[in-house]
Amino acid sequence: MMRFLNKVRTDIRSNRFLNIITIMTIALSILLVSVFILFFENASRILSAWNHGGRAMVYLSDSFTPAMLPNVKEQLISMGSIEKMVFIPKTQALERLKKEMGSKIQFLSTLQENPLPDAIEITMTAHSSFEQIQKAAARIEALDIVDTVEYGQGWLGRFLKLFNLFKMTGYAMSGLFLMIALFITANTVRLAFYARQTEVEIMRLVGATDGFIKTPFYVEGLLQGFIGGVLGMIILLAGYLTLSSGISRNLDAYVYLDIHFLSWQAVAIILFSSTFLGWFGCFISLKQILK
């Protein structure tokens, strides 16, 4: 193994420029993909936090009477995914409204009757996604006794559609850049192979097996992929530290923004993927050359 590593070190030195180009391409591709992952990881977390921890208000129809409450609760529980339920009678809702509106309540005293409906505030189980809440809401809304269900579906729904579109574009861009990195890696190996053709020919003449000839190329591909991945992660971390401190300073007072760097699992997956990318580029090239 040490002999192979020494050989790889010599080969990398003799093809320094090609190797730098490949490592930089892998690093940039990994950086781009990681930026998308970092953005989506954080955006998903922030969006779910903005979704009030999966809370929804079930507004009951006028035909509801408090005697029906146990039956309604039972129906809601049977739908699953509901962690907590709090019944808010319309009188309590009016009191709450008066409290929230403070000095601007004079117009409320002119009302002949309470216009607010009885409601049940439900909290979904912690792992519920926006889509799950949306589905549960639709099921609840289908009940006769329920008038409407509100869970911030208006703006959040529109934002999620935009977010998903952006996510798709992100996937497509990541795929494209990974393909470009793969082809550049494959071509570098091809060029390195042709640069060492005399050497390979001599190795064959003295009885080297294909495995003996290929192994240094594979080790080189794995190293290029790994170094490219590490470099991409370092650039991402530097960018993250610079940007996140700026964002926190300026926006923390106005909006809830809990930005984290990639989890160690995500970093491990990215480094594994970049190493695999280096190996796979090598595999494609050598398969074509040594058929």
């Binding site: 002999r3 005399t198 001599i202 003449l205 003295v206 009885g207 080297a208 097996t209 003996f212």
Partner: protein
């Protein structure tokens, strides 16, 4: 082409023909070679001397006929087994075929590395062979600054380091001055006297006389024109 003298033949060629497109490079060659023999392959340029060596180490496959090396039929050697066949040969070429970015030591050691020998054995064996070929002091040099004679001595060292039973030499002195050529031939002679079977292609018939016994195979336009015995 040779009466059976009791020794098993190490190389046997049966009606070997090699064509490049429509051109005949070797035409119906039948030949038996005993272990420890010295075979001088002579003939003008384009006679088929190099092709004959190439079909032996399977750089080229024959168009017709059969070749047996140590009882192994070359027609049945798969690509996966080819490296193991080549390890039975030591090869010396006119253009040396040394790896330019590897030291003399590394070039010679390559043969033992591909065979999976231990580093301690490789070091000992390579230094021994370099001492015999007079290249010990140049072990850490790259090949290119060396003279042609020195490079060819490195190539001879590489050919013999794996202790092959057969050495194939294709015009080994073709690009060397008289003195260097002499030194390379002396080295080959030494290994021949130690029991190696040597097939050497050369158009320089004078060189043949340095070997005390052996056979001269004369090729012309790919055809075996005759075999003479060398008796000095």
């Amino acid at each position: 082409m040779r009466a059976n003298s009791g020794k098993a033949n190490i190389i046997r060629l049966f009606n070997v023909t090699k064509r490049y497109g429509g051109k005949l490079a070797l035409n119906d060659i039948t030949l038996d070679i005993e272990p420890g023999e010295f075979i001088f392959i002579s003939g003008p340029s384009g006679a088929g001397k190099s092709t004959l060596l190439k079909v032996l180490y399977l750089a080229e496959r024959v168009s017709e006929g059969q070749i047996l090396i140590d009882g192994m039929n070359l027609a049945r050697i798969s690509s996966a087994k080819l490296p193991f066949l080549r390890r039975r040969f030591g090869m010396v070429f006119q253009d040396f075929k040394l790896i330019p970015n590897r030291t003399v030591f590394e070039n010679v050691a390559l043969v033992l590395r591909v065979a999976g020998e231990k580093p301690s054995y490789i070091k000992k064996k390579v230094m021994h062979v370099l001492r015999v070929t007079g290249m010990e002091k140049k072990a850490n040099h790259l090949p290119q600054p060396l003279s042609g004679g020195e490079q060819q001595r490195v190539a001879v060292a590489r050919a013999v380091v794996g202790e092959p039973s057969i050495i194939l030499a294709d015009e080994p002195t073709g690009s060397l001055d008289r003195e260097s050529a002499q030194r390379v031939l002396d080295l080959l002679l030494g290994y021949h006297q130690n029991g190696a079977t040597i097939l050497m292609a050369s158009h320089n018939i004078e060189q043949m006389n340095r070997f005390s016994k052996g056979r001269n195979i004369i090729l012309e336009d790919g055809t075996l024109k005759g075999i003479s015995t060398i008796l000095c």
